[in-house]
């Protein structure tokens, strides 16, 4: 009985799948799916040679500080960084006094409550504060940005495939729509208020090009602030904000694996040793 029932159930599922396949195949051949403009013109991120690439790569602290400067002077006007606190900047090489000063001079104030009246107020951030958000809420953010809400950047490099390369490619990827695209997809003209960028998933991005001219920021360490350099630096900084424990993780990993290799070699030898009489006997 079990086998007859199973046979019938199997026949039904397998048969119906094959019929579905035939229906799908006929539709596929008679009406091949239309090629989308995203499929044709979306580009994978450019590969960037970051210092933290590869299993043993490390952050370049000078680069992280430059990237932080780009974030401070350019990105932070619209984007929040809500999972990072000022105190975390210790991780990119600032000392306590510097962090205190950075927090105190931060352009956006931290929300607070007036201790006398209990009314909402603001104050200068302190190192324990998280980076204050540039907009009070999503409605304010959308209203100020052509209805697009600038996403939080804390985790951006982990929230996209090949995130570090992606940020760099996006920042340097703005261009005019290719004539080729408009020829094949006349309906796909970039709408007003959006900006064409082949690295963005649907090709048209609300964010205007943030890095436009060489020297937009002035680096303290004398590095020439080309658009390319700024894009690289801020990508590196955002890689750090998304994964501040990257170096600890790799160091711990190396030690763990060396330990495990030795332990496993010993385990293998004791296994061989214990089985020696059984193997010889056979």
């Amino acid at each position: 009985m079990v086998r007859i029932g199973a046979f019938l159930v199997g026949l039904f599922f397998a048969g119906w799948l094959l019929i579905s396949f035939l229906v799908g195949a006929v539709a596929y051949v008679s009406e091949p799916p239309a090629v989308t403009v995203e499929h044709e013109f979306h580009k994978h991120p450019k590969e960037v040679d970051f210092s933290f690439n590869g299993p043993f790569g490390k952050f370049d602290q000078a680069q992280l500080q430059r990237g932080f400067q780009v974030f401070k002077e350019v990105c932070s006007a619209c984007h929040s960084l809500k999972f990072v606190a000022f105190r975390d900047l210790k991780g990119i090489g600032y000392n306590e006094a510097e962090i205190k000063a950075i927090a105190k001079q931060w352009a956006i104030k931290s929300p607070d409550v007036d201790p006398k009246t209990g009314e909402a107020s603001t104050r200068a951030p302190v190192p324990a504060d998280y980076f204050p958000k540039p907009f009070a809420n999503n409605v304010a953010a959308a209203a100020a940005n052509n209805n697009a809400i600038p996403p939080d950047l804390s985790l951006m490099t982990k929230a996209r495939h090949d995130g570090s390369d992606y940020i760099y490619s996006l920042l340097t990827g703005y261009q005019n729509q290719p004539a080729e695209l408009l020829k094949h997809f006349p309906d796909a003209k970039t709408p007003n208020g959006l900006h064409y960028n082949p690295y963005f998933a649907n090709l048209n991005l609300a964010m205007p090009p943030p890095l436009t001219t060489d020297g937009q920021v002035t680096y303290g360490d004398g590095t020439k602030a080309t658009v390319d350099q700024m894009a690289k630096d801020v990508s590196a900084f955002l890689t750090w904000t998304a994964e501040p424990k990257l170096e600890n993780r790799r160091r711990a990993g190396l030690a763990t694996i060396v330990f495990l290799l030795i332990a496993t070699a010993l385990a293998y030898m004791s296994y061989q040793n214990i089985w020696a009489d059984k193997k010889k006997a056979a």
Binding site: V2, V9, Y28, K158, R249, T264, I274, A281, A282
Partner: protein, 439 residues
């Protein structure tokens, strides 16, 4: 519960004797995974995976309990508390990554364990109960993993919860009320997150309990072995300890090395980037995909695209997806061949490897976008999956002519070494007589 020649627990120290009289727990352990459990001497490395699955469960429970200490099961803060664990808790990143990748490794070893059972016919009499309990563990694991994936409250958490609970919505008439009841609302929200957290904490301990039953059921007939020939006497077995504890110790080392490579150097490789975006009910991700270990079943779910008269395609997909696992409960009665091991079943062996390739194809399609040609490929692969278990396997066991079996485990071990001895031109290697102290 064991072979008559099993070694007996004889505590020497008075304290151990005292404990043994009051609560013979050390005796139980000794007989279960110690020297008191005789095991076939010819087990290969594929028999390591049960122990590895147990280890993976322990890793999950330890890392999970620690993560729970820092987690807030509320939609307003859940995503943030997970991030805080990663950033501000001592070794929090290690616990979080170990837990997320530990789930993947748990499934890797369990899948290998299941396919070992499929190839060597471990599900056959007298071990049907072991197989059935194993499937119960597998189902509990899937439920636990699904609910665990919802907890970080990222985009994939939210939309995965919506899609999976939506499956129940496909049931006619009562489907939508059931979905609302499961979620505690009309869409995943705070009520869903809270109950998923509660169940995600509970189920691993239920799994641990079923694991005990699984091992108990295994110890009644004893472990199977690569020849599929039952143990005939003491010369066929060795005590679990030290022989297999030593071998498993080596296996555990290899497992931990591979686990560490992923955990420390590519911890997000198996995850989806969208889950680093906080859940947003107003923005649907481009492709909603579950974690990789569900991909083969997800492919089957999506392969049903044509309504069967009054039965909608979605309901068919849901039925097929659940059947894809539930039908394995009938496997011991579908494959009636008395020969267990695939090594002695030439036709079975060929189809077994086709099944492996088929499941890998299904997995690939399940992770791909729901577009052509992936849907067409999963339709063919899905058809084979059902046909394999429900049609081909019963037919093979009826018509196949198996190869001659070795007379006993010891004989097969001797033969293997004989052949090897001749090839290596090392006379005498295989001709040594059996030592009398074997077992």
């Amino acid at each position: 519960m064991s072979f008559p020649w099993a070694e007996h627990y004889t505590p020497k120290h008075p304290a151990m004797q005292w404990i043994d009289e009051k609560l013979p727990l050390p005796r139980l352990v000794y007989n279960a995974i110690g020297a008191g459990y005789p095991v076939p001497r010819n087990l290969n490395y594929f028999w390591n995976f049960g122990v590895l699955a147990g280890l993976a469960l322990v890793i999950q429970i330890v890392t999970g309990v620690i993560m729970a200490m820092h987690y807030g099961a509320n939609t307003l803060v859940a995503f943030g508390t997970v991030e805080q664990t990663m950033r501000d808790v001592n070794a929090g990143w290690l616990m979080r990554y170990a837990h997320a990748n530990g789930a993947s490794f748990f499934f890797i070893v369990v899948y290998l364990h299941i396919f070992r059972g499929l190839f060597y016919g471990s599900y056959k009499a007298p071990r049907e109960m072991v197989w059935l309990l194993g499937l119960v563990i597998f189902l509990l694991m899937m439920a636990t993993a699904f609910m665990g994936y919802v907890l970080p409250w990222g985009q994939m958490s939210y939309w995965g919860a919506k899609v999976i609970t939506g499956l129940f919505g496909a049931i006619p008439v009562v489907g939508e009320p059931i979905q609302t009841w499961l979620l505690g609302g009309f869409a995943p929200g705070n009520a869903s997150l809270n109950r998923f957290f509660s169940l995600h904490f509970l189920l691993p301990f239920v799994i641990a309990a079923v694991v005990i039953l699984h091992i108990w059921a295994l110890h009644i007939p004893g472990s199977s072995n690569p020849t599929g020939v039952e143990v005939k006497g003491p010369q066929d077995t060795v005590p679990f300890h030290p022989y297999y504890t030593a071998k498993d110790g080596f296996g555990v080392g290899v497992f931990l090395i591979l686990f560490s490579i992923l955990l420390f150097f590519a911890p997000n490789y198996l995850g989806h980037p969208d889950n680093y975006i906080e859940a947003n009910p107003l923005s649907t991700p481009a492709h909603i995909v579950p974690e990789w270990y569900f991909w083969p079943f997800y492919a089957i779910l999506r392969a049903f695209t044509v309504d069967f008269f009054f039965v909608p395609a979605k309901l068919l997909g849901v039925l097929a997806m659940f059947s894809a696992i539930l039908m394995l409960f009938f496997l011991p009665w579908l494959d009636t061949s008395p020969v267990r091991s695939g090594n002695y079943r030439p036709t079975f062996k060929k189809f077994f490897w086709i099944l492996i390739v088929d499941v890998l194809i299904l997995g690939y399609c399940g992770g791909a976008p729901a577009a052509e040609p992936y849907v067409m490929i999963s339709q063919v692969a899905g058809a084979y999956y059902f046909a394999h278990f429900l049609i081909i396997l019963p037919l093979i066991s009826r018509f196949e002519r198996p190869l001659p079996l070795p007379g006993s485990i010891t004989e097969s071990v001797l033969n293997r070494h004989n052949i090897k001895g001749e090839q290596d031109a090392l006379p005498g290697m295989g001709a040594d007589p059996q030592p009398s102290n074997a077992g």
